[in-house]
Amino acid sequence: MLGLNKKDMSLLLIVGALALLAPFILNPFPADSAMAQFNAGYPDLMQRFVIFGIFAIGFNILFGLTGYLSFGHAAFLGVGSYSAVWMFKLLSMNVVPAILLSVIVAGLFSLVIGFVSLRRSGIYFSILTLAFAQMSFNLAYSVLTPITNGETGLQLTLNDPRVLGVSQTADGSIPVTNLFGMEMRSTFEMDLGPWLFQFNTGYYLCAILMLLSFYLSVRIFRSPFGMMLRAVKSNQHRMNYTGLNTRPYTLAAFVISGMYAGLAGGLLASMDPLAGAERMQWTASGEVVLMTILGGAGTLLGPILGAGFIKYFENIFSKINDSVLHGWFGFMPDGLEDFIVTIVHPFVGKGWHLTLGLMFMAVVIFLPGGLIEGGQRIGKLFSRKSKKSDGGDAEHHPKQTPHVAE
């Protein structure tokens, strides 16, 4: 169905079900229980899950398939955000033109950067993309201020023209982003006993686009085009003597992943109409690399998993403070309690990046295939007796480690 084989189709259905039921799945704890802080089913966070999922899926099309490690993908995300906000300022608050423009602009931008960067491979490619992204970041902060509004970031104002909409609403406030009238921020709340579930329009728009992106990436992975890219990653030397001009193929992959990043940036701005230069900084590029590797580069599901994982822990971990910790370990004798809290303290709250860094190192050292490989290993441990049931997703690359193309 839909041009997918059975296994890929079921994968798509699972992802679809997870995305659509996320408001339930991510809110397993009653709203007033002590565990409610681990709930992730609120609109803001769920939106970020799927948006960064899109970003990582796109990054994986470049890195996972071709092995070219770009350290500058955040630039495309940032460009997408700026384009979308400009569309909101000039045209209308409808998200459709904004998202379209952000994808197109990011695509053009990545065409230029990719055309130049792909003339080199390996670490040189990484440095070139890094240099381009840092340049964009520095320019956005300085001379491009008329376009980017510098350090403050680009925001909507009451004086924006919005030729197809209104500059301000009847009560004198800035209009909100919408999809043909459906407001992105509108949330339907459902009380179910002690549980509170929130269904947000913006989230569902993002989720549907994420599913579409995922579907496209599955198709690309299974296409001759995707196979050529994997061949480039596996042995570029052989590829050169096999009659294939690799440059347009890698460039196409670069542009596609740049457009994914633009889509993610456009969606970020559609959910919350502002854009700042820090979205383009190289640490932001590093983050999408982290997501992809953590989940499993070159696998279909990995990037989504990695994005969700990082965004979830970023939110939850950074919310845990000392009083929460004392609450948890309160059952212990006082001295021990204080001791444990002191030990755990540096890793939570503001120290969450420390945990992230450690986790990331652990994954690269012990699990080069990411969480997907971890899951497969555990799966194998349990199903050793049953004949052979290789995990579905990474069938084509069980032992593969991501590497820079040579």
Partner: protein, 252 residues
């Protein structure tokens, strides 16, 4: 007029004259071996033929067209496929995928955004890949990861990857280097079989005289960057100059 005409090719690296005035004519449907001691310029010559190096002087014509200045992938599209000294295959991919890739590459070489069609939906290419695997006796291994193949099988696979493109000229760079005697004999048999079954020209660079004399129709002896003699294997065997320059040192 041979299918491959090399005229007056010279190549210099800094102070070293790697090739000086090489003339070579490979007749269509023949097996032409190029032999010579280490440093004779065999590999440099080969690299000039496939576009990795551009010679300083001379011309290389293939099938009536010049190959000079073309990129390796363009030269491949003209009908020259190359087998490397150590098998170059796509280690991360399965055997079947390894032979399908050259088919797609041959078809879509310049660029074709086949991003939304399924690999296995392309019946003609699947059929060709299946056929070639049968030809080289590897159909039972088609779902294996090619990195886990034995060395001999990797060589077989690489040949299959070249043959599936139906090249006019197959270049072999020491195809039996580092192989055990049994594997070498298998490779010779495979090459003989390939030659029998299709119209193909082969140019072999080889150290192993056993291989050369079992396969070649004509032999060119290269020494210090220039061709010493070109003749049939029978005549080469008895040629005093060759014995002196080459065979004397590496008699088996």
């Amino acid at each position: 007029m041979g299918i491959l005409e090399v005229k007056g090719v010279g190549k210099r690296f800094g102070g070293l004259q790697a090739l000086g005035d090489v003339n070579l004519s490979v007749a269509e449907n023949s097996v032409h071996a190029i032999i010579g001691p280490n440093g004779a310029g065999k590999s440099t010559l080969l690299n000039c033929l496939v576009g990795k190096l551009i010679p300083d002087t001379g011309s290389v014509m293939f099938d009536g067209q010049s190959v000079l200045g073309r990129k390796p992938h363009e030269i491949n599209q003209m009908g020259i496929s190359r087998v490397f000294q150590t098998p170059e295959i796509f280690g991360d991919l399965t055997v079947m995928e390894n032979v399908m890739i050259p088919c797609f590459a041959k078809r879509d070489g310049a660029f074709e955004l086949n991003a939304f069609s399924s690999v296995f939906g392309q019946a003609d290419i699947v059929a060709r890949a299946e056929q070639i695997l049968e030809d080289v006796n590897m159909q039972d291994k088609r779902h294996m990861h090619s990195a886990s193949l034995s060395r001999g099988d990797k060589r077989r696979l690489e040949m299959a990857m070249c043959l599936v493109q139906e090249p006019k000229l197959l270049l072999l760079d020491e195809p039996t280097a580092g192989m055990a005697r049994a594997d070498t004999n298998n490779t010779i048999d495979l090459l003989k079989q390939i030659k029998q079954e299709r119209d193909i020209t082969m140019a072999i660079i080889e150290h192993d005289m056993h291989v050369v004399f079992s396969l070649a129709d004509r032999i060119t002896v290269l020494a210090q960057g220039t061709p010493l003699v070109e003749d049939t294997p029978e005549n080469i065997k008895g040629h005093p100059k060759v014995r002196e320059a080459y065979l004397g040192e590496t008699a088996h």
